[in-house]
Structures are given as structure tokens and as C-alpha cells.
Symmetry: C2
Subunit: 202 residues, 2 copies
């Protein structure tokens, strides 16, 4: 009965979503107003569904990101700790980074970032989904992978700006670290959640 109710309710949600009157905005004009190797700011003039015109909607044009949660045969998650200059703290996360869509697939980017940052490899990469950090202001999406039966195959080769510590954490203890606010990047919490769901149901 629980399952039946659940299905009906998700079904009703789907109907509500299909009856929705939400529409995308119409882009009338689009200009790059700031650009260098690291930052691109785009200014759009848009027409809203209610007719309103906005001529100063700014977007951060950012490259796609891939994050991988490597888990070993023994149930250890491979995490990385590094200083991040935006947040001005040392963060405990999963390996990942930007990749150039078209030049690399998300899978190739995920394997490359995992190798560079941790030296780990997996031939059981599971795609968990496509998510977003801040779809209000940023154009980019993030691809999540679970790297099952991951093992150390290479020496890490971090970027020159990266000073990374690789740490093994029992996958089962991650909730404790999230609850204690020790894992505090939304993407890291989200990929753990999706990985735990995958491992529970598959």
C-alpha cells in the first residue's frame, strides 16, 4: 500500500508539472561584456512570459564540470582535501573539475580528473545524473559518476595551482561527516546522496 500511494503521488506531481504554465524566457539580445581565459560574463536582454523586458540579465558562462565518487572494493570512498580560494577554507570533497565538452566526454573527463587528483581508476563507471550548482546565474551543468571498485593505478598529477591531499573515508561514515558540517560543498553532499541511493537499490 505504501508503494501504491507513493506511485500515485509521484503520478499526481507529474500531472501538475505537465499542466504547468512555466515557460522559458525569450532571448532578444546576447552580448559578452567581460571575457578572459578564466571568466566570461554574458549580458542578455530577455522577454519574460508576463511580457516584462529585462535588459540586464547577466550570466556566468562556465565550462561543464564532472565529479566522480570513487569507492573501493572494501567500501572506502576516496576523497580530496584542498584549499579553495573562493571559500577561503580547506574543503573535503570528491575528485572532479571542468572539462571541455566536445573535446572530452563527461566519462573521459571524470576518469582524467580522478587520475590526476587521486591516481585512482575504475572500469565500472556508473553515470548518476546531470545536476546544476547555480542555474540562476551559471550556464554550466555538472555530471556525476560513481566509480565502483576503484583502485590506485597511477601517481596523482595535480595542476600547478592544486595542492591536494587524498584521504580514504569509510563510505558508511560519510553521513556523520555531512551532519557534522565537515563535508560542506553542495556538490559533494549531492553526489554522496545519489551514490548511496544507487548502491542501495542496485
Amino acid at each position: 500500500m505504501q508503494n501504491f500511494c507513493s506511485t500515485v503521488s509521484i503520478f499526481l506531481l507529474k500531472i501538475a508539472i505537465n499542466m504547468s504554465h512555466l515557460e522559458p524566457w525569450k532571448v532578444l539580445k546576447s552580448d559578452i561584456v567581460f571575457h578572459n581565459k578564466w571568466v566570461t560574463i554574458q549580458q542578455d536582454t530577455v522577454r519574460l512570459p508576463n511580457g516584462n523586458l529585462i535588459d540586464d540579465y547577466f550570466l556566468n558562462v562556465r565550462p561543464e564540470v564532472v565529479i566522480t565518487l570513487p569507492i573501493t572494493k572494501g567500501g572506502k570512498a576516496i576523497m580530496v582535501r584542498q584549499y579553495k580560494h573562493g571559500g577561503k577554507e580547506i574543503f573535503l570533497e570528491f575528485p572532479g573539475g571542468v572539462f571541455e565538452a566536445g573535446k572530452e566526454t563527461p566519462l573521459e573527463g571524470g576518469l582524467r580528473e580522478m587520475r590526476e587528483e587521486t591516481g585512482y581508476y575504475s572500469d565500472e563507471m556508473i553515470y548518476l545524473g546531470k545536476v546544476f550548482d547555480d542555474p540562476t546565474k551559471d550556464t554550466n551543468c555538472i555530471h556525476f559518476f560513481l566509480a565502483k571498485n576503484a583502485f590506485k593505478k597511477f601517481e596523482p598529477e595535480p595542476d600547478p595551482t592544486e595542492n591536494i591531499e587524498v584521504i580514504e573515508v569509510s563510505f558508511e561514515e560519510i553521513p556523520e561527516l555531512i551532519k557534522a558540517n565537515k563535508i560542506r560543498v553542495c556538490g559533494a553532499i549531492a553526489i554522496y546522496t545519489m551514490a548511496a541511493m544507487h548502491l542501495k537499490f542496485n
Copy 2:
């Protein structure tokens, strides 16, 4: 025994973190290179712990964000659906937005955003933690609140750019929506995870 092992391992992680050689970068120079009402880009010249000098590290200076997960006495989560122009899709999330630190507390901002977007109110606001979307590039943090026993008290008053649908979803069904990639903003997945942990252990 399970609990004992778990504690020891978190303890070892704490030792590893205390022995860490990670250090913050030293900022030698900091300039605002692009600025208007909506976007501020800062260029830093930084000295890395390994001695390297980087003179083009760009940060997006962004205001703090607060997100609230309202849950009713009956176990319904109050969610919002809206088009977001960065991601070019309609997203299912929890109410929230930016606030001006100093002018408003995170709690005041959380109550205001919940009221404006959904009309809901709670006098049992639980602070879940401080998190980050992209601490590599963005300066801002996000505050998460759980609004227990939330109830509709006001009419919603969204911003002129906001066309928002308010949807009730059974809290227990949220994992299904995350697994199906219907909830696909990292912050929304992360606040659900932290709220579920709080509700389970308190």
C-alpha cells in the same frame, strides 16, 4: 562495536586533518575588474604555499544565500518550480535566495524568502549548516534551514522576474525524485540530505 569503530575512524580522520600541510594562499593584491548591480569580478594576485605566484586568479564576489526546506506537520515538503535562465530549464527546488549579510540575519533572510516565494511560515527554524556551491570560483556561502511544522500564513509575493509554482511533495518521496534526476540542483539535494539526517536523529 559498530559505533566504537566508527568513532575511532572519524578520530583518525581528525588526526590526519590536523597533521595536514594544507595552507591558505596569501593575497598580495586584489582588484575589482568588473562591477555592476548584479556581477562583481575580483582579480587576485596570490602566493601559493609552494612559492608559485599567480597574478590572474578571478573570483565571483557573490552575496550570501539562504535556502529553507519547509515541512508541514503532515510531512509535506513545500517546493518551488521556476525557469532559471542560467540552466535554461525549469527546476524543482526549495525556497531561497540571496540576502545582504549585516542587513539581515540568515534566519531573517530564510523566513523572508520562504514567505515571498511560498507564503509559508514556521516558528521552528532549525539551522542545518553552512555550505558552499563552488568555493573554487565563488566567494559566497549558503545557509540551510529546516522549517519544521511550516504552515501557509501569507500570500506569496515573488520578485518581478520570478514566476514561481509552489508544489507540495511528500518528504518521503523526495529520494525517488532525486534518483529520477527530477530534483537536479545540488543545493536542493544537499539540503534534503541534511534535513533527513536531522529528522532521523532528533
